[in-house]
């Protein structure tokens, strides 16, 4: 499932913007439930299909979904830590997609893993991993670590700390995170939020695009090998920029002087009061600094 389809599907189910706990209109049947502590830790495994995680204000874990008769759903543990999901089958057996919805306390955390299943979570903290599925995280979280081998990752989180990785997928950072560490290998990385105080963004061949204002006192580090770094900053921006490339070009549309014709240069510019600090370096990718 592509990132956009997953996001639209979440929005249709009211998971993106709604408060957690309000279940979708045609909710699948409850598979299991149990009372847990507010800080419950869940380990979830669903290889194929989709898993939606919803943080709510109740002291219980509820799992909804339909599991094919050939598959076995497991749900065990105690009130503080639990494991649930679909049991792994032998490699020769075809995997059936299963759609699960898991409700858990907002202060709880998850470690969820899938093969090609997409993962969508609202108001959930923890570790989210999929080999080729998409990951969409929204709402508030204490922290989040999202990893996909090749799927898209979209973060629309309010959180003090988030880390995200993908290979060729599209990675989008929005919402209101404070400390962000995000990278791709070949996928495009888009940063669309001005809430970041510490940001590290890297790619090898994918373009890294930052399109937002920068907070006063914030610190950014952009790194790319052959992809571009594109910084679209408002004219009122207050930042010190330290841009360097070995064999690429620097195009600073704010600066009076245009040095970029010769490769292997660096350019230091102060815009406004220079309150934020931005370091960007590439090997042979272009660095552009421009108004939006």
């Amino acid at each position: 499932m592509t990132l956009m389809r997953l996001f639209i599907s979440m929005a249709a189910c009211g998971l993106v913007a709604s408060s957690a706990g309000i279940q979708p209109a045609a909710a699948p049947p409850v598979l299991r439930s149990r009372r847990v502590v507010a800080t419950v830790a869940l380990k979830i495994y669903n290889p194929s299909g989709s898993t939606r995680l919803v943080g709510w204000d109740r002291d219980s874990v509820v799992v909804r979904g339909r599991v094919p008769s050939r598959d076995r759903f497991f749900f065990n543990g105690d009130s503080a830590s639990m494991k649930l999901g679909i049991e792994e089958r032998s490699a020769s057996e075809p995997v059936q997609p299963v759609d699960l919805i898991v409700y858990l306390p907002r202060r709880g955390s998850v470690a969820i893993k899938s093969v090609d299943a997409s993962i969508a979570a609202t108001d959930i903290s923890g570790w989210f991993y999929t080999v080729s599925g998409a990951i969409v995280l929204a709402g508030r979280a204490q922290n989040a670590d999202a990893e996909s081998m090749s799927g898209d990752v979209m973060l629309d989180l309010t959180t003090p700390w988030v880390r995200a990785r993908t290979g060729r997928g599209h990675l989008v950072v929005r919402g209101a995170p404070e400390d962000v560490d995000a990278s791709t290998v070949g996928g495009t990385l888009d940063v669309l939020t001005s809430s970041i105080m510490r940001g590290r963004f890297a790619s090898v061949t994918g373009d890294v695009r930052y399109m937002a204002d920068v907070a006063s006192g914030s610190l950014f580090d952009f790194s790319n090998h052959s992809g571009a770094i594109d910084l679209a900053l408002p004219r009122s921006v207050s930042a010190t920029l330290d841009l360097s490339t070995v064999a690429g070009l620097i195009d600073d549309q704010f600066a009076q002087v245009k040095p970029a014709a010769a490769p292997g240069r660096w350019l230091q510019t102060r815009l406004g009061g220079g309150d934020a600090r931005i370091v960007a370096r590439t090997f042979k990718g272009a660095i552009r600094v421009r108004p939006p």
Binding site: V131, M149, V185, G186, Q268
Partner: protein
């Protein structure tokens, strides 16, 4: 009573290894003319750096010693104590080391360049004889080599499409690393190249860890 403000750790290191530039170096050198404490410390750092540079290199290629060391370790084992736990502990220390090295690079990079330059100033890259990025490259390279061994075991269990994606990503990163190593061979004192190399190795370690998580 006025308290004397001494040079920061970064400024003293920057003076000692010549990486401090612009206004920074002028201010720092002016401070040295009236501060015996900082002068002594900078002198001590310079002497340490000279000592480190003149230290003899190992006569043997360290990589070639590893197989023998490993077989000795293996033969001395009497019992295997939860290998996964031990592996994860070791990984924890390595990750902590890598994070610390990355933090040093980030802080050093940001602080060394923080010199209050005027608008639109242009300069060529300043050579930095000693760069912590070199240490983190070594750490990342070692970790990547270890993870590559583990990946070979897990790779077979992954779906063909995922294997193809992994191979493509690894090839992309390895090509970047190769280009950077060639560039460093031509311009060994360029700190930006070393930082980019460290970043590429970091990407490789991240990718190999993701592959490890797939198993």
């Amino acid at each position: 009573m006025t308290r004397v403000r001494h040079l920061s750790e970064e400024e003293r290191h920057g003076l000692a290894d010549g990486s401090l530039d612009g206004h920074g170096i002028r201010d720092a050198e002016a401070h040295l003319t009236m501060c015996a404490v900082c002068t002594a410390d900078v002198r001590r750092l310079r002497s340490l750096m000279r000592l480190a540079e003149s230290a003899p290199r190992p006569a043997t290629d360290l990589d070639s010693l590893w197989p023998e060391i490993r077989s000795r370790i293996e033969s001395s084992k009497v019992a295997r104590l939860q290998p996964r736990v031990r592996a994860s502990k070791r990984r924890g220390w390595l990750v902590a080391g890598l994070l610390a090295a990355a933090a040093i690079i980030a802080v050093t990079t940001l602080e060394l360049r923080h010199g209050g330059a005027p608008d639109g100033r242009i300069a060529t890259t300043t050579p930095t004889p000693l760069s912590p990025a070199g240490d983190s490259v070594r750490l990342y390279r070692d970790e990547a080599a270890r993870l590559l061994e583990e990946m070979e075991l897990r790779r077979a269990t992954l779906p063909p499409a995922t294997r193809t994606a992994i191979d493509d990503d690894l090839r992309t990163i390895d090509e970047a690393i190769k280009e950077l190593e060639v560039a460093i061979a031509h311009d060994p004192s360029n700190p930006a190249l070393r930082q980019l190399l460290a970043s590429s190795y970091r990407q490789k370690v991240d990718l190999l860890e993701r592959i490890g998580n797939a198993g």
